[in-house]
């Protein structure tokens, strides 16, 4: 644990805290610059049946009669102390609403991520070692194809094929094992395309390194070469990519939950959008930012520890993130 690393870690941590706070403020500003006055228009909507006294009570309870800057201050200090405020529609704390649906989304997202990783590794392995006539080229097209497919379409195709035609799961029961698995596959495929893209590029680079040629000349089989030598260095930059796809995982679960009819954070967002329940939206978006920033912080802090080739220079670190950026300390490509 060198001094440079600790400086870097402290600086990175400070940055993360600032970004989270600013993201909260940003969301607050977006949510409160709503043109017109949706808050009272929602409350006064005859369908909701609030009396004038109740409306006044809600407005006072939410602090909506105070100037915006004071609302922001109250909301921000509440956020920092873990108080996310009250929902405007159901008169329940936002944190309760969120914690009710969070487990379902966490299951979906983590299974989705697992599917994405497995699929990406299988595809990447195939592009290296599958014989040409068995569709290596097709596999290489996998990332670009699935980056072009809207993820609700993947969900609908899965429901149509496996739910309707083959009858493996029933849409009416979205929390069953198979329905969850297929929802996770729908969520995972676009993400695996992103991971596979980077993994394939890195594998191509690693396979040209001298150590790979040495291993091959020692008579190592392809599967062992892949698992023992190529996968580790090629997947290190993938750590960063995975951290970046967390945002996509959260956004994608919104759509996947709608397609598969699951209850979760996504359906809560949907409901809050249609009822303009701003405190709930504010809380979910800020939590999304918190998760995203924290995951990326962890990835950035772990990276120099995982990859000894990365050097920290004066609090700034360099890492072989993308394929076109040569990694530090890597050997030159073998020219034949």
């Amino acid at each position: 644990m060198s001094n440079a690393y600790l400086t870097y870690a402290a600086k990175r941590l400070g940055q993360a805290v600032v970004v989270i706070l600013l993201a909260y403020v940003f969301t607050f500003v977006v949510v409160s610059i709503l043109p017109g006055d949706p808050i009272t228009s929602v409350l006064r909507n005859p369908q909701n049946g609030f009396s004038e006294e109740e409306i006044a009570e809600i407005i006072a309870a939410q602090g909506l009669d105070k100037p915006v800057i004071i609302q922001l201050w109250n909301s921000l200090t509440g956020f920092l102390t873990g108080d996310l405020g009250m929902s405007m529609r159901s008169n329940r704390p936002v944190s309760t609403l969120i914690s009710e649906v969070l487990p379902s989304t966490l299951i979906l997202a983590s299974v989705g991520l697992a599917v994405a990783l497995i699929l990406a590794i299988v595809v990447a392995y195939g592009t290296r070692f599958l014989p040409k006539r068995y569709g290596q080229g097709l596999l290489r097209g996998f990332p670009s194809l699935f980056l072009s497919v809207p993820n609700f379409v993947i969900g609908l195709v899965l429901i149509h094929l496996f739910g309707f035609q083959l009858g493996i799961f029933r849409v009416i029961n979205p929390d069953s094992f198979w329905a969850t698995l297929f929802a996770a596959i729908a969520l995972g495929i676009p993400i695996s395309a992103q991971i596979a893209e980077v993994l394939i590029a890195n594998l191509d680079k690693e396979a040209e390194q001298e150590y790979a040629a040495v291993a091959r000349s020692r008579g190592l089989g392809q599967a062992r070469l892949f698992a023992k030598h190529l996968l580790k260095p090629a997947s290190l930059p993938v750590v960063t990519v995975i951290a970046l796809t967390i945002g996509e995982l959260l956004g994608g679960s919104l759509i996947t939950e709608t397609v598969f009819g699951r209850t979760g954070i996504g359906s809560l967002v949907q409901r809050s959008v249609s009822t303009q329940d701003l405190p709930v939206l504010q809380a979910i978006v800020s939590l999304g930012a918190v998760i995203f920033v924290l995951v990326n912080l962890v990835a950035d802090l772990l990276y120099p520890l995982l990859d000894p080739r990365v050097k920290i220079l004066g609090g700034q670190k360099r890492r072989p993130t993308t394929a076109d950026e040569p990694s530090i300390g890597s050997t030159k490509a073998v020219t034949s």
Binding site: Q15, V18, V19, I20, L22, A23, F26, T27, V30, V31, I33, L34, P35, S144, L145, L147, S148, V149, P150, N151, F152, V153, L156, V157, I159, H160, F164, I246, G247, E248, L250, G251, G252, L254, I255, T258, V259, V269, Q270, V273, Q276, L281, I284, V285, G288, A289, F292, V293
Partner: protein, 282 residues
């Protein structure tokens, strides 16, 4: 030597313009797809005689046939006509999103990269904040804030793309600023703004173009997702995402989902392929 050049010459005369522009066949095909999509959005009435709004109830939920290429929907409307007429809105909203992303992001990146100092620090934090909010959630709250319409979905998508354009433009501007010819322009007495306009901007914009094309494809997907969730224009509009969303309630007649999805995927694939080609030829 002469033999080789003769060979390429005869090949180029045979393969006409694709060879002249020196692009792979698949890229040429992508351009054909994009040209068709543009034609659909400019003059949809030339491509179909059916109405996208008024259907023939007796012909409802027919499968694809020569009369109805993509079949008909639950109101007996020709789905191909609906897709063709929905193109203009789907494509132009993606264009709006890209323009917003390029202009706002480019402006931020240009200022940050060219002025440096505290401006750079402040703008870099702003970009970090924009990047920290999951893109789709950001688009959802922006569209919630400004109202459910396709144009607002486009604006929301554009806002969620600002950060990435700001980053790329900033990096390019910094790279160009350090070039010798920019230094020479400074030394020969060019003003900051003249150099920015005359030298830095054109050079920086070169690598923004492939990204803008890529973002166009991405925007089609995001706007389709927003339309799918019902945050775009309501029916009888026929945006691609909305068509798929309506089709999902009729999964027994799967072409209602597959046909508009196919057109969406084909368009985005073509756009992405063109972007990759642009990046390589740069």
């Amino acid at each position: 030597m002469t033999f080789a050049s003769n060979l390429t010459l005869s090949a180029s005369t045979r393969n006409s313009w694709a060879e002249a522009l020196r692009m792979p066949a698949i890229v040429a095909l992508s351009f054909v797809v994009v040209a068709t999509i543009i034609a659909w959005s400019v003059a949809p009435q030339l491509f179909t005689t059916y109405s996208p709004v008024i259907g023939v109830p007796a012909d409802k939920l027919l499968g694809p046939s020569t009369a109805h290429w993509f079949g008909t929907d639950h109101l007996g409307r020709d789905l191909y006509a609906r897709v063709v007429y929905g193109t203009a809105s789907s494509v132009s909203s993606a264009l709006v999103a890209v323009v917003i992303g390029v202009l706002a992001g480019g402006f931020i990146g240009l200022l940050a990269g060219f002025l440096g100092g505290w401006v750079d620090v402040v703008l870099a934090r702003l970009v970090d904040v924009l990047l920290s909010i999951p893109k789709f959630l950001l688009a959802v709250i922006v569209v919630t804030a400004i109202g459910f319409e396709t144009i607002n979905a486009a604006i929301a998508t554009g806002v969620s793309a600002v950060a990435i354009f700001a980053r790329v433009t900033r990096a390019e501007v910094i790279k160009t600023r350090q070039a010798t010819f920019v230094e020479a322009a400074f030394l020969s007495g060019g003003s900051r703004w003249y150099i920015l306009w005359r030298h830095v901007l054109p050079n920086a914009s070169r690598s923004v173009l492939p990204l803008a094309v890529l973002q166009f494809g991405e925007s089609i997907l995001v706007i389709a997702s927003l339309a799918f969730l019902g945050y775009g224009d309501p029916p009888p509009a026929s945006d691609w995402g909305l068509l798929i969303s309506i089709g999902k309630d009729y999964l027994k007649w799967p072409w209602l989902v597959y046909a508009p999805a196919f057109i969406t995927i084909l368009t985005v694939l073509s756009v992405n392929r063109i972007s990759r080609w642009l990046r390589k030829t740069d």
